[in-house]
Amino acid sequence: MSQQHAVNGVLPKGKVLTLETMNPNVKKVEYAVRGPIVQRAVQLEKELREGAKKPFTEVIRANIGDAHAMGQKPITFLRQVLALCAYPDLLEDNKFPEDAKQRARRILAACGGQSIGAYSASPGIECIRQDVSRYIEKRDGGIPSNPDNIYLSTGASDAIVTILKLLICGEGRGRTGVMISIPQYPLYSAALADLGAVQINYYLDEDKCWSLDVNELKRAINEARQHCNPRVLCIINPGNPTGQVQSRECIEQVIRFAKEENLFLMADEVYQDNVYADGCKFHSFKKVLFEMGPEYSSTVELASFHSTSKCYMGECGFRGGYMEVINMDPDVKTQLTKLVSVRLCPPVPGQALLDLVVNPPQPDEPSYNTFIKERTAVLAALAEKARMTEEMFNTIPGFTCNPVQGAMYTFPRISLPAKAIDKAKVKGKVPDMYYCMRLLEEEGICLVPGSGFGQRDGTYHFRMTILPPAEKLKIVLDKIKNFHIRFTEEFS
């Protein structure tokens, strides 16, 4: 691309930055969770506000895992401490409990200039990294965690993309391949497109409750080796959008596979507190790795991710999170430290929030009872809504819905009449997108079509959050049922 110069003072037409000249990878990036269907939802909301008449009075945004947006209340203790940190004069106010004040003082003392407005060190405030490592040790039954291996981040997404940036390299057939589950959370596909990595899909088994089969991993990697260099295996546990909670055996199999195939493991565990189904339990990858003995625990390279956006906190807007890196080569770690320094530091309010999540009120502290009550209520409500949703969806003819074992979503399979699929093609839309758009226009419910997450050819799904309050959720489920029956009839 050569420079074009002004000729006789007349500028050549056309912009410098156009679709043709911009970074081609950027064009491939899509993020369905906030994609075209959400943009249409925003537009509809605007029209409603301006008084337009619609078959619904509000748009229900069941597309994104944003608990507070759907009415979940923040945990009192967390917000009290944050307010005290933001405006320390409140430390004189006797309406705030003593344990909240103590936490605030401790956090402020660790901040530069005693203010959460100051920059922090790039990997995060030192004492918070220490608190995180202690939390991990406690969670994992005493397996040691080194604060030097903890990097605080701007939500888990920031840390995930940072690790990918580090690992993705090579050219042509040597280009890094990254294994990701189908269906997956589209941050991964977007990041891989953006960074120009090769995406290697491994399919979760819908008929077996979305479980992971090592044979499928083997199939995927063998095929991939023909056109790229597989180096990374990403796993989301509990899963998004599928909600499956991996069994311990399965996690061990994945770790063995990673070791055999020389893969860097990325374990996205942001939903670790969101486990509902009987018989299901969260096992951290790190814990299982170490319990498998030194042959694995001293060799398999692992990065585990967590955040303040999900679980019982739901504080997406604060962008708090961390990653723990295990068995990373020290020279690579130096590069990682260098890389995070370029973006200065993660938001300090988010770091403060994370500190409270790993350092919650203890039984002997004044805020304990309220804290436990609120936390239990949130998680119990989610569990009940998970059950309700699975039950209801399975009564709809044409719907197959796996149990929502964990996380915050349901991902039912829907059967679409052949005529509907044809209609969608005529309109230039993917069938499940057409379905979801119709649902949005007719019922004001915003979901994300399964095509945004990946699914087996010929199958259609959508992802809906289970976050709206129970009463509203019931109404939503009813509306979807009615819509589906109407839709199926229309195209019979």
Partner: protein, 519 residues
């Protein structure tokens, strides 16, 4: 296949396998990341951290003895402390490397923090201790947050009210030139926005090496001296920084002839696509005049470059009779054809304002896009949609864009705090200039704006030689001695780029008790 003849050999082989496994990732790290040069003054930072820790321990020991404690507090410059057996004429390390005012002890704006607290803990909306306008502002912001909580994700480009406030702020600042809230994207700090922007302007055209072609990488013209992280991020994205020298003799001005030279020098090395300017300059402190900005715009237009204007220090102007002129304003006022064609992205943040919203830790920034191709803008929004700007940062931006007005209950306190801050910093600026220029071998241009001073230090040839013998850059050596002997932590000029043979240090002007520091 591992040898099976002999158990000893097999175990050695297994150990080798183990080691090979561990290092397999190292060999294959993204070369872009490897190319990011870490700060050259790492040794300096490490030593500073060590000294800081040693002093902290010493203070802890002495603080149990009241007398000594009192002595240290009141007369620091004449108190000697023994650190690791070496006598140190200071008890506290003064770190002036960062543009982090709150880290340096400056108090934040009360209004901003009150609004934030009320947003975080809405029970405070009923607390009469908070002034009415604080509660009103918080209520308004919460109303626009999904579910009435700052814990929710925000839509693109951010909380609608904040985007509107920012566009109004821009318009006011620019003498009425209109600003469209739909062209404003809120980001987690300006560096993040700049990175994203560099990413999509970096047209990395890749050709397979064994097909005979080389990769043609995008170039970004960057000033020298320049804010190091921006350069690092260009490299990290696979771009090529193309340095253009700022003209020290004229107070670090931008010269078009130099831009031309840089562009020509880049021929064959890369494909220059963007021109990055920092105004007010970091670390130079230079504030561009209208003519200079116009010249740069004309240059960008002629040479078909995308303009990236880093204006985070726009509130920090000290020289009398200068005002900050934004690139957008000058562009608009140049009229057609420039105002409709030159593509510009202007960056600002809540981290650097003189107005006291020094909330670097909150990570709030924005970018305003001018004349960008609408099809490209769509993709920009998609990229931004993956990364939400933190809500506390957005609140900080709201206060920055729309501070208390005369008549508001919070206005008197706000005005006092703002004036105090401004007076302090203007004083510091003046003193820095006086003191630096009174030292032999140090010359400093008057700092017109920004947060730093960048004086030139003439190092005696013996010092330069000593540094070379020790295998370090002369200005790093100087800074190391400054650190050890005086407890002052400055950043060496080599970090920002300087002409060969010249040496500088960068000093952040926001230290509270400046005169004490320099006695």
């Amino acid at each position: 296949m591992p040898p099976t003849s002999n158990t000893g050999e097999r175990s050695i082989f297994n150990r080798y396998q183990l080691r090979r496994r561990m290092s397999v990732v190292l060999r294959e790290i993204s070369p872009n990341i490897r190319s990011i040069r870490p700060p050259r003054y790492t040794a300096l930072s490490v030593r500073a951290a060590q000294i800081r820790e040693e002093l902290r321990q010493v203070r802890f020991i002495y603080s149990s003895l009241d007398f000594l404690h009192h002595l240290i507090k009141t007369n620091r410059s004449s108190t000697c402390v023994f650190v690791q057996g070496v006598k140190k004429p200071y008890t506290e390390l003064i770190d002036v490397t960062w543009g982090d005012p709150q880290g340096a002890g400056l108090k934040p704006l009360t209004f901003a923090r009150q609004v934030l607290a009320a947003c975080l803990y809405p029970k405070l909306l009923n607390n009469e201790r908070l002034p009415a306008d604080v509660r009103q502002r918080a209520e308004g912001l919460l109303h626009e947050c999904h579910g009435g909580s700052v814990g929710s994700y925000t839509d693109l480009p951010g909380i609608p009210q904040v985007a509107r406030q920012i566009s109004e702020f821009i318009s006011r600042r620019d003498g009425g030139v209109p600003s469209d809230p739909d062209h404003i994207l809120i980001s987690p700090g300006s560096q993040w926005a700049l990175q994203v922007h560099e990413k999509y302007t970096a047209m990395y055209k890749f050709k397979q090496l064994y097909c005979g072609g080389g990769g043609v990488r995008s170039g970004v013209l960057t000033p020298q001296p320049s804010y190091s992280l921006s350069v690092m991020s260009v490299v990290g994205l696979g771009g090529v920084p193309v340095p253009y020298q700022l003209w020290e003799e004229q107070g670090w001005e931008v010269q078009v002839e130099e831009l031309n030279r840089a562009l020509e020098a880049a021929e064959g090395e890369c494909d220059p696509v963007a021109l990055y300017v920092i105004n007010p300059g970091n670390p130079s402190g230079h504030v561009q005049r209208r003519k200079s900005i116009q010249d740069v715009i004309k240059f960008a237009s002629e040479k078909r470059l995308f303009l990236l204007a880093d204006e985070v220090y726009q509130d920090c102007i000290y020289k009398e009779n200068i005002e900050f002129l934004s690139y957008k304003r000058v562009l608009a006022e140049m009229g057609p054809p420039f105002c409709d064609t030159v593509e510009l992205a202007s960056f600002h943040s809540a981290s650097k304002g003189l107005l006291g919203e020094y909330v670097c830790g909150f990570r709030g920034g924005y970018v305003e896009l001018v004349n960008m191709d609408p099809a490209v803008m769509k993709h920009v929004f998609t990229i931004f949609s993956k990364d939400n700007a933190p809500t506390p940062g957005q609140i900080a931006l709201s206060v920055m864009a729309s501070p208390p007005q005369p008549g508001d209950p919070s206005y008197p306190l706000y005005r006092t705090e703002k004036q105090q801050m401004q007076t302090l910093i203007k004083d510091n600026v003046r003193k820095v200039h006086e003191v630096l220029n009174s030292l032999p071998g140090v010359s400093s241009h008057p700092v017109e704006g920004g947060a730093f001073a960048f004086p030139r230090i003439d190092l005696p040839p013996k010092a330069i030689q000593k540094a070379k013998d020790l295998g370090m850059e002369p200005d790093i050596f100087y800074c190391l001695r400054l650190l050890e002997d005086a407890g002052l932590f400055f950043t060496p000029g080599c970090e920002y780029g300087q002409k060969d043979g010249t040496y500088h240090v960068r000093y952040a002007k926001k230290r509270f008790h400046f005169m004490n520091d320099f006695s």
